[in-house]
């Protein structure tokens, strides 16, 4: 089996992370090295073993869907880099 390889440029694009060529050149061997280390999990026999998503025995917690006093529109948009009229402003998405 060949050494595991992760195409950094491709994955970074999937996750909307712009990297410079220098960064890709540095991250590529480091991530391949980490990936090779992770491969050791293939030694473990997991036949018939249930996956664990988290460690506590609690599932599907529900609460009543009622309005509460929380943030005002002003508070909610106070940290936004660009906002106006109580809304978050973003670059144009849909072409006219």
């Amino acid at each position: 089996m060949s050494a595991p390889h992760l195409d950094v440029r491709y994955v970074a694009d999937l996750v909307r992370l712009r990297l410079s060529d220098e960064e890709i050149a540095e991250l590529q061997p480091q991530l391949d090295h980490v990936l090779s280390y992770i491969e050791q999990l293939n030694e473990v026999n997991v036949d018939g073993i249930e996956p664990t998503a988290h460690a506590s025995a609690v599932y599907n917690v529900f609460r009543a869907d009622v309005p509460r006093d929380r943030f005002t529109q002003e508070q909610a948009t106070a940290n936004a880099p660009h906002s106006g009229s109580g809304l978050f402003l973003v670059p144009k998405v849909v072409e006219s």
Binding site: R16, R18, A55, N79, P91
Partner: protein, 475 residues
């Protein structure tokens, strides 16, 4: 007033006897920060005026009345910055208190000062902070551990009586060990994470750094319990953690996991931990060797699960609702790509990419699903061990504090710093690191930490075991 040796318990006695006022205590902490922090660089910011106003009207009848507590910069405190030591959160002001902060205030404590950390809690040395490097109080050429390095260093350097940190794979226990203070990671679900900036949601827990086990019990008492705002916090009663603290370990069975004494660990660390185990034997505990056979897979397992969850959690940093935004984007893809590319540091990028990869189509079963199954086996190891013993004893870190810069070029070497702490997070159990002596290097005495682990929601037992050693060592 000198803060050296001042514990919460002692400060509380002095405050109640009228020998010390909350304002005097706050001023002493503030003065200690001014004197000491230029060498340590554990704090990122603090709001003295606000803390002073709180100290002036502190209710000293409350359990932590008038006690200042430093807060890791990953926990929201209303009206304060919460940078996560990242460029992407520069300029952010928290609009609300995390539940742990609400609870601290309700117990009379005063949140004071924000501490440095690895960016988004990703790291083991605090060198991944985009803001500054924190130094080990015992040796300024060495790291304080991480990711809660600032929270550990300020307590160890007597610039705080206590602090809060977060622990996803050892980020409380490892820096506590390397700086020489007490660091407690409660069980998964014991403390609310509402208001903690999420790294890996199935692993993160908030816990205290203190000078003593007794103080750790006091802080845990204040922050533990169910919170409707965090659906993963369990609705089970919070026992009185101080009540049985001095019950001792006579007749207890304590396990020493053989997989936690490995080739390549520092011989002085091993010697100090073995001496501590003998102290327990002397106190009447029965020491038995146990096996946690899947230990060697814990680091690999963690770096799949934690990065997968991080890649999803950090998607929220998109430059729309908060944080920094790239200037003059061409279009939306350019906006996202450059905002995140410019805002995140190297280690965060490494983990987002790895996490995205292990969750991506075609690799999910091979990596993520397999890791979740191995997690079941790691957890089962502990369940089986705790059928035979009451608690586990091990080193917290295989090495004492290493030099600044030493491991930065090799991410895998850095990840292996957490080899003894990661499994507790995967299994959801509680763990604590307590000082157990020093290792000498370059003429400096570097602290060594003893890790005690106990079953989920058995913090009272955990603290009692830890306290027995601490009391024996002080005697």
């Amino acid at each position: 007033m000198d803060l050296a040796g001042l514990t919460i318990a002692k400060a509380r006695r002095m405050i109640q006897a009228g020998e010390l006022s909350p304002v005097q205590l706050l001023d002493a902490v503030n003065a200690a920060i001014e004197t000491t922090d230029p060498q340590v660089d554990g704090y990122l910011s603090r709001d003295y005026e606000r803390a002073r106003a709180a100290a002036e009207k502190a209710d000293i009848s409350l359990p932590l009345g008038g006690i200042p507590v430093a807060i890791k910069d990953v926990i929201n405190v209303e009206g304060e910055p919460c940078t996560c030591s990242s460029k992407i959160l520069q300029g952010y002001t928290a609009p609300y208190d995390a539940t742990v902060v609400t609870k601290l205030r309700a117990a009379g404590a005063i949140p004071f000062g924000r501490t440095n950390m690895d960016e988004f809690a990703m790291g083991s040395s605090t060198e991944n902070s985009a803001i500054k490097v924190t130094r080990n109080p015992r040796d300024p050429e060495r790291i304080p551990g991480g990711s809660s390095g600032g929270s550990a260093a300020v307590v160890a350097a007597d610039e705080a009586l206590a602090s809060l940190g977060s622990d996803t794979g050892g980020s409380i226990r490892q820096p506590a060990a390397l700086c020489g203070c007490v660091g407690l990671k409660p069980s998964y679900g014991r403390v609310s994470r509402y208001g903690l900036v999420a790294f890996a949601s199935s692993l993160d827990q908030i816990g205290p750094f203190t000078h003593t086990v007794e103080d750790a019990a006091l802080v845990l008492q204040a922050i533990a319990g169910h919170d409707p705002l965090d659906s993963t916090s369990l609705d089970v009663p919070v026992p009185d953690y101080s009540a049985q603290l001095d019950g001792g370990v006579q007749g207890m069975k304590l396990g020493v996991p053989k997989e936690y004494f490995i080739e390549g660990m520092d011989p002085q660390v091993e010697a100090r931990v073995r001496e501590a185990i003998e102290v327990y034997r002397g106190l009447g505990a029965e020491i038995v060797e146990v096996s946690l056979p899947h230990t060697k897979y814990a680091v690999a397992d963690y770096y799949i699960i934690a990065t997968a969850e991080a890649s999803a959690n950090l998607a929220r940093f998109d430059g729309v609702r908060y944080g920094k935004r790239a200037e003059a984007p061409r279009d939306l893809a350019d906006h996202y790509g450059r905002t995140r590319g410019e805002g995140f540091g190297k280690e965060v990028k490494r983990r987002i990419i790895l996490g995205t990869y292990v969750l991506s189509s075609g690799y999910y079963d091979a990596y993520y699903l397999r890791a979740q199954k191995v997690r079941t086996l790691i957890r089962r190891d502990f369940v089986e061990a705790f059928e035979k013993v009451d608690g586990l004893l091990s080193p917290t870190s295989p090495v004492p504090a290493f030099k600044i810069g030493e491991r930065m070029s090799d991410p895998l070497q850095m990840y292996l710093s957490d080899i003894f702490t990661i499994a507790a997070n995967l299994a959801g159990i509680c763990g604590i690191s307590i000082p157990c002596g020093d290792a000498e290097a370059d003429g400096k005495k570097l602290p060594v930490g003893l890790q005690v682990m106990a079953p989920a929601f058995e913090e009272a037992r955990l603290l009692r075991i830890a306290r027995a050693y601490e009391a024996a060592r002080a005697a």
